[in-house]
C-alpha cells in the first residue's frame, strides 16, 4: 500500500528561515502521527506545510503522491480555533456544510449525498444538538465540535488537525479520540498537533518538537522522561 504522506529531509518555516529541519517520516493509510511541543516549536508550521499553505524550505514532501495543497477534496485541514468563530452569525449546519465546498467547487449544486454527509458529520461530533444556532452564540467547546464536523464533512483521505482538543473538556477530548479512531479505521491517515500527551496514547508515531526533532518513534520510545524534559524543560505527568 502506498504511503499517504512521505517526507524526506523536510525543512519547514516562514520566509527563508526554517523552524524545523531534517524531518523524515512516512504515514500509511490508517496511521496516526501526533506532533507534540511547546508554542513556536514548529507543529503548526509542519501542518500548514502538509496542507500546502506554507512552502517547504527544503527536502521533499508529498501528500497522496502529489505536492501538498493540490488535492483539496482529499485532504482535510482543521486550523487552530478561528477568531471569526466569536462573531460569525451563521448557523452551525451552514458552517459544517462549508466542509463540502472543496468537492462542490464554485458552482456545483449540493446533492442529497452532500446533505447526508453534513448531517452525519454533525451527528458524529454532537454538533447536531445545536445545528440551528449561530456559531457566535456557542461555547468554545461547541464551536470546536462544529469545526471538527466541518473537517469530517470533507470525507478526506488525510486529516491535518491543529490542536483539535483545544477548549474541550475530558468528555470532548475522548470524543475526539473516538472520531480519530473511526477515521483511521476507514483508512484515513491523521496528523495531529497537540499539547496533551494523552492524545498520543494510540498514535503509531509521535514527534516531539522544539524547533528541532527532539524524539520520534512509538509513544513508548519517544515519550521518555529525558525527551520530555528536553522538549518542555520539565517532565509532564503521563
Amino acid at each position: 500500500m502506498s504511503a499517504r504522506i512521505e517526507a524526506t529531509g523536510l525543512a519547514v518555516g516562514y520566509g527563508h528561515r526554517p523552524i524545523v529541519e531534517g524531518l523524515n517520516f512516512s504515514l500509511q493509510p490508517g496511521e496516526l502521527l501526533v506532533l507534540i511541543g511547546t508554542n513556536g516549536s514548529g507543529k503548526s508550521t509542519l501542518l500548514k506545510t502538509l496542507a500546502g499553505l506554507v512552502a517547504a524550505q527544503g527536502g521533499s514532501v508529498n501528500v497522496l503522491g502529489a505536492a501538498p495543497g493540490t488535492q483539496h477534496s482529499l485532504v482535510g485541514y482543521l486550523p487552530q480555533h478561528p477568531v471569526s468563530s466569536h462573531t460569525l452569525p451563521l448557523r452551525v449546519e451552514d458552517v459544517v456544510a462549508m466542509g463540502r465546498y472543496a468537492h462542490l467547487g464554485l458552482t456545483r449544486r449540493a446533492r442529497a449525498q452532500d446533505h447526508r454527509i453534513v448531517q452525519e458529520s454533525m451527528e458524529r461530533t454532537g454538533a447536531i444538538a445545536y445545528k440551528s444556532r449561530p456559531l457566535r452564540d456557542l461555547s468554545g467547546g461547541q464551536q470546536q465540535r462544529t469545526h471538527l464536523a466541518q473537517v469530517l464533512a470533507r470525507r478526506a483521505d488525510v486529516l491535518l488537525l491543529d490542536e483539535p482538543t483545544a477548549g474541550l473538556d475530558l468528555v470532548g477530548r475522548q470524543a475526539v479520540a473516538e472520531l480519530v479512531a473511526q477515521e483511521r479505521a476507514r483508512g484515513v491517515a491523521v496528523v495531529m498537533a497537540t499539547h496533551e500527551l494523552s492524545d498520543a496514547d494510540t498514535a503509531d508515531m509521535v514527534m516531539l518538537l522544539a524547533q528541532r526533532v527532539v524524539a520520534q518513534g512509538s509513544p513508548a520510545t519517544a515519550l521518555t522522561d529525558a525527551a520530555l524534559r528536553e522538549c518542555f524543560g520539565f517532565t509532564q505527568p503521563h
Partner: protein, 296 residues
C-alpha cells in the same frame, strides 16, 4: 398624515429620483456589505470610499466622468494596499491607514485647484442625492446586477473567507484571488453609491444595514434581505426628514440607518435579558434539572 408621508415624493420628481437611487444603492450595499461585515473589512471599505476622492476630484477638475475617476481612484487604492502589505511586510491595517490619509489628502489638494473648492468637495464627501439623473440610475442598476452576479458566483469562497483564510485555501479557493474580487466588489459599490450619499457616508450604508442583518439573520440570504430592507427604509425616512426639516439628505439617510441598527441592538439586548431571566426562573423552579444540588 398621508400627505406628510407620501406627498413630497408624489409632488417632486427630483425626490422620486433620489428615492429610486437610494433603493438601488441600498440593494447594492446590502449584498456587498454583508460580506464586508462577515469578513471584517469595514476599515478596508472605508479606505476604498476615501480612495475614490482624488479620482473624482481630478475628474471634476479636468472634465471627465466622475464614475471613471472614482474607479481609477479605487483601483489605485487597492493596488497600493496590496503592494505595501506584501513588499514591506506591514499589517493590512497600517497599509490601509497610510493609503487612506494619503488619498484623501491628495483629493483635497487636487480639489483645492478648483474655483468652487468648498462646494465640489462637499458634494464628493457628502453626495448629491437630490441631483440624481436617469443616467446615474442606469449605472447604479448595472452595478447592482454586477454585484449580485459576483456575489452569487463567489458565495462559497466568500463564506469560507469569513471563517478562516487557511480553510479557504485548503478548500481549493485562492485567498488572494477571492479577497481581491471581494475588494473589487466593494470598490464597485463605492463607485456606484458615492454620488448618492457621498464618499464619507457610503460606509454607513455599507455597514449599518448589514450589521443590523447580522443581529437577526442566521443565513446569508436573509441577512442580505434584512440589510436591503433597512437600507431602503432608511433612505425613505432620511429623504422625508431632509424634505420636512430642511437638513442634508445623504447624512439623514445614513444617520437613520445607524439609528435603526441602534434600535435593533436594544431589542436584541432586551430579548437576551428576558431569556436570561427565564433561565434563572427555570433553574429556580426546577433545581435538579441540570444536576444542581440545593442544600437548604
Amino acid at each position: 398624515m398621508g400627505n406628510f408621508l407620501f406627498g413630497p415624493f408624489a409632488d417632486n420628481e427630483f425626490l422620486r429620483q433620489s428615492l429610486y437611487a437610494g433603493i438601488l444603492v441600498s440593494a447594492i450595499c446590502a449584498v456587498a456589505g454583508t460580506f464586508v461585515v462577515l469578513r471584517g473589512l469595514a476599515f478596508a471599505g472605508d479606505a476604498l470610499a476615501h480612495g475614490v476622492v482624488p479620482g473624482v476630484a481630478a475628474a471634476l477638475l479636468f472634465g471627465f466622468s466622475g464614475v471613471l475617476g472614482a474607479a481609477i481612484g479605487a483601483g489605485v487604492m487597492m493596488s497600493g494596499v496590496s503592494v505595501v502589505t506584501r513588499r514591506y511586510r506591514l499589517s493590512g491595517d497600517t497599509a490601509i491607514g497610510l493609503l487612506f490619509v494619503g488619498m484623501l489628502a491628495l483629493g483635497v489638494i487636487i480639489q483645492s485647484r478648483s474655483s468652487s473648492f468648498a462646494g465640489d468637495l462637499t458634494n464628493i464627501l457628502f453626495g448629491e442625492v437630490l441631483g440624481v439623473s436617469n443616467s446615474d440610475l442606469m449605472w447604479q442598476f448595472i452595478a447592482l446586477v454586477a454585484v449580485c452576479v459576483v456575489a452569487w458566483f463567489c458565495r462559497r469562497p466568500f463564506l469560507l473567507l469569513s471563517v478562516d483564510d487557511g480553510l479557504t485555501e485548503t478548500s481549493g479557493f485562492s485567498v488572494k484571488k477571492y479577497h481581491n474580487i471581494m475588494l473589487a466588489m466593494v470598490a464597485l459599490t463605492v463607485v456606484a453609491s458615492f454620488q448618492t450619499v457621498g464618499t464619507l457616508l457610503v460606509l454607513g450604508l455599507l455597514i449599518a444595514p448589514a450589521a443590523t442583518g447580522a443581529l437577526f439573520a442566521r443565513r446569508i440570504g436573509i441577512m442580505m434581505v434584512v440589510a436591503a430592507v433597512v437600507g431602503i427604509f432608511s433612505t425613505y425616512v432620511g429623504l422625508l426628514v431632509s424634505y420636512h426639516a430642511n437638513v442634508a439628505a445623504g447624512a439623514s439617510i445614513v444617520f437613520c440607518s445607524v439609528l435603526v441598527f441602534t434600535a435593533c441592538a436594544v431589542v436584541v439586548e432586551v430579548q437576551r435579558w428576558q431569556a436570561h431571566r427565564k433561565d434563572i426562573h427555570h433553574d429556580h423552579d426546577q433545581p435538579h434539572v441540570h444536576g444542581h444540588v440545593h442544600v437548604s
